[in-house]
Subunit: 126 residues, 2 copies
Amino acid sequence: MNYSKQRELVLKTLQENMIHPTADQVYELMRKEMPKISLATVYRNLNQLAEKGIIHRISGLNGSVHFDHNIEKHYHFICTKCNKVYDVPYRVAPDLAQKLAEYTGLEAESYDVAFRGICNHCKNLN
Amino acid sequence: MNYSKQRELVLKTLQENMIHPTADQVYELMRKEMPKISLATVYRNLNQLAEKGIIHRISGLNGSVHFDHNIEKHYHFICTKCNKVYDVPYRVAPDLAQKLAEYTGLEAESYDVAFRGICNHCKNLN
DNA sequence: TTCAAAATTAGTAATGATTACTATTATTGA
DNA sequence: TCAATAATAGTAATCATTACTAATTTTGAA
């Protein structure tokens, strides 16, 4: 994987925006700093970075794939009102892969937990 | 929601095919029995049935949305080789919504757990 | 440093999944 | 029985993502 300005900025954008953005959101955020960036380049780099395990892709939230610079084990909660994505700590459901193996004999390479509901902020907006 | 032959067959097809089919797969399965069915009708009915809680939509597996006639709480394992979807019993991760509330104060209306890995069948194919 | 091979890019076309639209047909309840 | 409502088939449109291509950039060996 050769160096490129574009890939560096994709990563930096993801690290500086804790909103679990989609590829399109990363694209829009990056355009401020690099107006000529191509959407296809953003997709390609996000996929490459995920492939190398430098970032994580989160699917199953809502339609499109989201990306996460945080590669520590953790889960996600998506608000069905505002669509914001919140981190959920690992201790909410530890050792799921191990439990899966115990109960079913299946070996998971990875897994996601996606909670859906209304976040506290949206609840308070009566 | 009025009765329709098409909706009845969508549900029947889902119940008789335990493969967690996508909308397109339901469409193909139904065409044997109802060749004039429209893909848009299949999508509309699957969404309506899911809306009413009669079936479940499973997202986050692989690209497209899958549907499940089983609305008991349970999880899924998708094989990254053959793309088959397996059911994972609820006891692998019980009370996740409650744990979530305890640890974070967030209230989940629903949640999915999607495991990914190579299934035992594909493992045995050397 | 120089330069050619390999990687990356911007821009755009193509694909795949899903939804929107529309004119026609089926269902329903008074 | 009949008009209001819902549902349908067929197709166009949309959205997310990937594929393609000619031009540019990176890289490491000479």
